[in-house]
């Protein structure tokens, strides 16, 4: 059964444990600036919104890549960056209309959420259930899909 990250901003308290967990899991450091999930801060309203790649079916990043360095993981459905193939040209970072593929100057490659191979550290770390890893048929995905469909229309 395909699973997806369900993000529920109304449950987020802005504790940033997801960012810490993500950067530690993927980069080996506790450094939110290296996290693939980001909590956006609406400080004047006291609200927070965690956001990361929704593994969209359009896969703008994958199609824009000139060297086939972004592939679909058959187990998780995630769009994975193959670090040994990525040349660091950054075309995917401007092609992704959600802004969720980022360039990491330290490695000279791009980074994006790969669902930690099927056990996302952000969901495990989230203490309030704002980030959960659920059956993709679960209702939360409908919202993400609705949101995805209201962005760039498919031709």
């Amino acid at each position: 059964m395909l699973k997806a990250l369900q993000l529920e901003p109304e449950k987020c308290t802005g504790c940033l444990q997801c960012e810490m967990a993500c950067s530690y899991e993927n980069e080996g450091v506790f450094n939110p600036s290296k996290s693939r999930i980001k909590v956006f801060n609406f400080h004047d309203e006291g609200r927070f919104a965690p956001y990361t790649c929704s593994q969209c079916s359009e896969a703008w990043c994958l199609h824009a890549c000139p060297v086939e360095a972004i592939v679909i993981n058959p187990m998780t459905g995630a769009k994975d960056v193959l670090e040994d193939v990525c040349v660091g040209c950054k075309v995917c970072t401007i092609a992704c209309p959600f802004g969720t593929v980022n360039y990491n100057a330290d490695s000279g490659k791009v980074i994006k959420c790969d669902l930690c191979g099927g056990d996302p550290a952000c969901a495990t770390a989230c203490p309030t259930g704002a980030i959960t890893y659920v059956d993709a048929e679960h209702t939360g995905l409908a919202r993400m899909k609705a949101h995805a469909s209201q962005t760039i229309p498919k031709n």
Binding site: F40, E68, C89, K90, I94, G99, A105, N155
Partner: protein, 423 residues
């Protein structure tokens, strides 16, 4: 059904794969004139600095990829198109019939009309063969002259500087990357390059190249200065490869004119990528966008239409670029130069080489330029292409243009206390 694609670049390859996906029984052939497996010119600079082997530039990595997809790759050059007979003339002497034809022949560098440009040892950085030749000559300490500081020039610049060459850039416009960066950003990139030891001459032309004595070349500049060079790399512009269509009766302006189904004025002939003059999302007009995302978008759409899925209408491609100039990352999107009467927001930090400029039409984002920004830049494309009404977030962006992601999330998603009710 016999589909023939001329050109083995990203546009042609994506089109061929899409055709195969949509029609299992069709015959799909790519005709390309270079000897290598289909590769990406985008990746050449990385090959140049030996970051990747030659195979690393290949568009598809599996050795049998095209055979498995039952896509025939023919190494040949198409010299003429006979529309009445629906047949191509090949340089090798043969003919090839087609039912539907896609022209994805790309573009090629143009040599400026300067005395001495025909001397041996002056290269473009366009093909794998060029890449090999430049890599061999761009030794540490070698005096390298780069003509043109446009997008392609700057990509090569990065590679040449990394190879340790003593690098001089000559650009005739008054700033670097003039067709992608405004005055402020283009001159910040120039200052950055200079601070990294590259000699940059803007508002300057090369007026003549002659054989030198101590070094292979002596180069005259419009400023009266004379430079020595061991290697000259020319990146002064590109031109669509359309000459083989002379007499074929296809409408060619800047490139091959196509409608929103990627069709030329012959309904069985389509065009895509650098050679095609297709719809620009921002202006609604047709223009040549020689960029990777547009090439693949064109290729996919053309293939869907060729396979009979005529509902696939091109809404227009957003012109956008991202560039890494010696570690300074810049990007520009859509109407980065602005729209008359539209508001704009600008944030400049010259000391830290940070720049962000947003351009609005009413309360929608229509263009942007950034320097030193590597996080969430893609959202600019998203906001432009969805024409998201920003409402009150436009004012917040005018105050602080860096809050693009917040503006996007607040304008498109339920993020409030009662957001659960909106699911």
């Amino acid at each position: 059904m016999k589909h023939v694609v001329i050109g083995a670049g990203p546009s042609g390859v994506v089109a061929a794969e899409t055709l195969r996906k949509l029609d299992a029984s069709a015959s799909v052939t790519i005709v390309g004139d270079e000897p290598e497996a289909p590769y990406s010119r985008m990746a050449l600079p990385y090959f140049l600095v030996k970051q990747i082997p030659e195979e690393g530039t290949h568009l598809r990595k599996g050795a049998n990829h095209f055979a498995q997809q039952r896509i025939d790759i023919v190494q040949d050059r198409v010299t003429a198109v006979d529309r009445a007979a629906k047949s191509l003339t090949l340089a090798s002497g043969g003919k090839m019939a087609y039912d539907k034809l896609l022209i994805a022949t790309g573009s090629r560098p143009v040599a400026p009309p300067i005395p001495g440009m025909d001397l041996p040892g002056i290269f473009s950085c366009w093909t794998l063969a060029d890449g090999r030749a430049i890599a061999q000559r761009a030794k540490p300490g070698a005096k390298v002259l780069l003509m043109g500081a446009g997008f392609i020039g700057c990509i090569i610049l990065e590679a040449l500087a990394q190879s340790g060459a003593d690098l001089t850039v000559v650009e005739m416009e008054d700033r670097m990357v003039p067709r992608m960066m405004n005055d402020t950003a283009g001159n910040m990139i120039k200052a950055w390059c200079q601070s990294h030891g590259v000699h940059v001459h803007t508002s300057t032309r090369v007026t003549g190249i002659a054989k030198g004595s101590a070094h292979p070349f002596k180069v005259d500049l419009s400023t009266g200065q004379q430079l020595d060079a061991d290697l000259i790399v020319s990146a002064t512009g590109v031109r669509p490869n359309v000459e083989f269509l002379d007499g074929a009766g296809l409408e060619v302006q800047q490139g091959i004119f196509i409608n929103r189904h990627m069709q030329t004025n012959d309904p069985d002939i389509y065009a895509a990528g650098d050679v095609a003059q297709g719809r620009d999302f921002s202006t609604g007009e047709s223009s040549v966008q020689a960029i990777q995302p547009t090439a693949t978008e064109h290729g996919q759409l053309a293939a869907r239409n060729m396979a009979g899925h005529t509902g696939a209408v091109h809404r227009g491609s957003v012109n956008m670029n991202v560039l890494d100039t010696l570690g300074l990352i810049s990007s520009s999107f859509g109407l980065w130069m602005g729209k008359p009467g539209g508001d704009s927001a600008e944030l400049v930090n010259r000391e830290r080489y940070r720049y962000l400029n947003l351009q609005f039409d009413g309360d929608t984002l229509v263009g942007a330029t950034s320097l030193g920004m590597t996080q969430h830049v893609g959202v600019i494309r998203g906001l432009i292409q969805t024409r998201t009404r920003l409402g009150k977030w436009k004012d917040k962006l005018l105050e602080d243009p860096t809050r693009l992601m917040e503006a996007y999330l607040a304008s498109t998603q339920a993020v409030g206390f009662n957001a659960a009710l909106l699911k």
